[in-house]
């Protein structure tokens, strides 16, 4: 066997150029496939993780009717009994009650449909980094003009393109201006000073609200203005309220900028009359309680099945016919569908790529068989069995695949590790387009995982299938014809 491996390995370097071309073609196919898959998995996992961890939770306790009919009427009481059960469960990391309902937001003659999100600001800040979404810089066109008038701004026309735009921090503002070609070595301090929004310190139980900046634009409202909200309250009551806007929110997802209205959960409960008075006690209601567990959010069914065990356990402990516990897969069917469609599209791309590579490998095998026909004839004449001959060719092709796979691993590993630990934030048009598709404009790679082996396995299977051709050819090889060739 050692001799067979030696011959196969040395054969690999007989025609260095051809081997390098074949290895390179496999290398680039694997490189592209791994990076694409990594980017796809990284982005999907980020989207899934963000949505599940920050909004829906891994599990949700709801009224049995709420999933099919998400009305405030199917709210659930947020009682000590429930919190005690959740507090005692060591698989739960934290839980956050939420009220989420559709309203009509108005100001003057303008009205627009919005979504009220009743949250605990402390948990929200920890969970979603809500404070990072608060607009800190608003590039009002009047203020831009005043800067241009008062300071010697070199490329004023670029600055003017940023009129009426909102930014959450200095970094994003500088990066966007820089990307547009503005000289960010000058005038930035003046821009920061003039464009800065007043510092917001929101109150945990106050009646103030934050609204998405696009909603504020539509309603022609700004920080400090009042917004009127009209909706359907709990048990048929009218929900009407007037709230002060303490801040504007700029989310990476466009849809949220258009309709979100954040308020403390207690304010939302008052707004919707989501409580019942029993004698001297008042029980407050929430739409659902989102629960984040210690389990990882992933598309792997094995991970999800562990979560389902916890779900059953919680349902048993709650022991309430009116309540149900729902897993994140059911809560995010849209995202899962998007991921599945994306995966299918990715598969088509990779299939085409591998198809092209397959023909390249087949070409190599055909050339190799043709070039060494005489040598094969000689080996058969000397007494080498056909299966050993086929084994030599198979080993050569497998070595080529492994050399390619190893090289790809060496090259991609640092990219994947870096890209997964430090997602690259996209700016400009690409970011805007992704935001409109309700995706966070982040370029994130999945770290080194089994999906790399999957790609290598696919190439190996292709090679093995092509080797069937080689084996058939060798089995039919005529010694005399080969020796004469």
């Amino acid at each position: 066997m050692k001799e067979i491996i030696l011959i196969a390995w040395r054969n690999l370097w007989r025609n260095k150029r051809r081997t390098l071309i074949t290895v390179s073609s496999i290398f680039f196919a694997l490189f592209y496939a791994i990076l694409m898959k990594s980017f796809q998995l990284g982005t999907y996992n980020l989207m899934l993780d963000n949505t599940v961890t920050q909004y829906t939770g891994h599990l949700q306790i709801q009224d049995k009717e709420y999933f099919d009919n998400p009305s405030v009427d199917y709210s659930i009481p947020f009682t000590d009994e429930i919190t005690n059960i959740l507090d005692r469960c060591n698989k739960i990391e934290y839980y956050f009650p939420r009220i989420q309902t559709g309203v009509l937001a108005s100001s003057g003659a303008n009205s627009k449909v919005g979504t009220v999100m009743g949250v605990n600001y402390d948990i929200e800040t920890k969970l979603t980094g809500l404070n990072n979404n608060v607009v800190k810089y608003y590039l009002d066109s009047n203020k831009i003009n005043s800067i241009i008038r008062n300071y010697d701004v070199y490329n004023a026309e670029i600055l003017l393109q940023f009129s009426e735009k909102y930014f959450n921090n200095k970094f994003d503002l500088t990066k966007e201006l820089d990307a547009a070609g503005f000289d960010t070595t000058k005038n930035m301090q003046q821009i920061f000073d003039v464009m800065q929004m007043p510092l917001v310190r929101y109150k945990k139980y106050g009646n103030d609200v934050f609204i998405g900046y696009k909603l504020s634009q539509y309603l022609e409202l700004n920080q400090g203005d009042s917004i009127i909200l009209i909706g359907q309250g709990f048990e048929g009551t009218n929900a009407v309220g007037k709230y002060k806007i303490v801040g504007l929110l700029n989310f990476p997802i466009d849809q949220m900028n258009r309709n979100m209205i954040y308020m403390p959960i207690s304010t939302a409960q008052e707004f919707l009359s989501a409580y019942r008075v029993n004698g001297y006690d008042t029980v407050y209601y929430v739409n659902f309680i989102a629960i984040n567990t210690k389990y990882q959010v992933s598309m792997r069914m094995a991970d999800y099945n562990r979560l389902l065990t916890l779900k059953t356990d919680l349902e048993n402990k709650l022991d309430n016919d009116m309540l149900t516990v729902i897993g994140w897969r059911n809560l995010n069917e849209g995202i899962i569908e998007t991921i599945q469609v994306g995966n299918s599209k990715g598969l088509i791309f990779i299939f085409i790529l591998y198809l092209v590579i397959s023909f390249g490998i087949l070409g190599t095998v055909m050339m190799l068989l043709s070039e060494r026909k005489k040598e094969f004839g000689m080996m058969l004449a000397l007494g080498m069995r056909r299966k050993i001959l086929a084994l030599i060719i198979s080993l050569e092709m497998i070595f080529m695949t492994l050399v390619s796979a190893f090289s790809v691993f060496i090259v991609t590993a640092p990219i994947l590790i870096l890209g997964s630990r430090h997602p690259y934030k996209l700016h400009g048009n690409t970011a805007e387009q992704l935001s409109k598709m309700n995706m966070e404009p982040l370029l994130k790679f999945q770290t080194i995982d089994f999906y790399i082996l999957d790609q290598v396995a696919v190439v190996l299977v292709i090679v093995l299938l092509i080797l069937i051709y080689a084996i058939v050819k060798i089995s039919k090889l005529n010694v005399i014809n080969s020796l004469k060739s």
């Binding site: 001799e3 030696l6 054969n11 007494g383 005399i480």
Partner: protein, 227 residues
């Protein structure tokens, strides 16, 4: 004692248009220790006859016995094993494995036979020394001259301790010095070791050295002379 018995062997190559009768009713016995040359003009059937004796080509009709075994009845895989054990080959174009050194080429056939590493190393070195290449054992074929490559091919043919060696025009690509050296080596091996050699050739220098000369014409043996 006959090591090769060719009995009324015919070989017809058929194409869609013509049939070529390459070998016609050949009867031939070759004994152990012979140094036989099969001669004849181009197209006389000498290479075809040699290929059939070596089991590389099928007979159309007749039988060939090698050491008592009718090789015309063997299946492809049995024939491959048979060749490995009983027959050594020297080809006109040397046909060494280009990625192996001279030593590894000689060892190669023994590794197919399952001979242990120590034994095959010793025997290969001995054989290469016998053909005058003791100092080139680690050279690859591309670093050897044509004559040297053919000498490695002779050493390889003898490595498996075959019953006989078939050499198809072994000197056709060699200059006169290399031809003489190769013939001396084979002659010595024949005389000292008793190795049986069967050549196909039309090289007069080879014919001169042969102990027996079988002449073919139009696929038939027209003379069989033992010197």
């Amino acid at each position: 004692m006959s090591i090769i018995e060719v009995k009324n062997v015919n070989k017809i190559y058929s194409t869609s248009e013509v049939k070529v009768h390459a070998v016609r009713g050949v009867e031939l016995n070759i004994n152990q220790g012979e140094f036989t040359a099969i001669v004849g003009p181009s197209g006389s059937g000498k290479t075809t006859l040699l290929n059939m004796i070596g089991g590389l080509d099928d007979v159309t009709d007749g039988n060939i016995f090698v050491d008592g075994t009718d090789i015309t009845q063997l299946k492809d895989s049995q024939m491959i094993d048979f060749r490995m054990k009983y027959i050594g080959f020297v080809f006109q174009a040397y046909n060494l494995i280009p990625v192996l050194t001279a030593l590894e080429n000689v060892e190669f056939i023994m590794s197919l036979q399952g001979v242990n590493k120590k034994e095959r190393r010793q025997r290969s070195i001995k054989l290469l020394e016998a053909v005058g290449l003791g100092d080139r054992i680690n050279s690859r074929p591309s670093r050897l001259s044509g004559g040297q490559q053919q000498r490695v091919a002779v050493a390889r043919a003898l490595a498996s301790k075959p019953k006989f060696v078939l050499a198809d025009e072994p000197t056709a690509n060699l200059d006169s010095v290399s031809t003489n050296t190769l013939l001396e080596i084979m002659k010595n091996l024949n005389e000292k070791e008793g190795t049986t050699f069967v050549f196909s050739t039309h090289d007069s220098r080879v014919i001169e050295k042969a102990k027996r000369v079988v002449t073919l014409e139009d696929g038939k043996i027209i003379s069989d002379v033992t010197k």
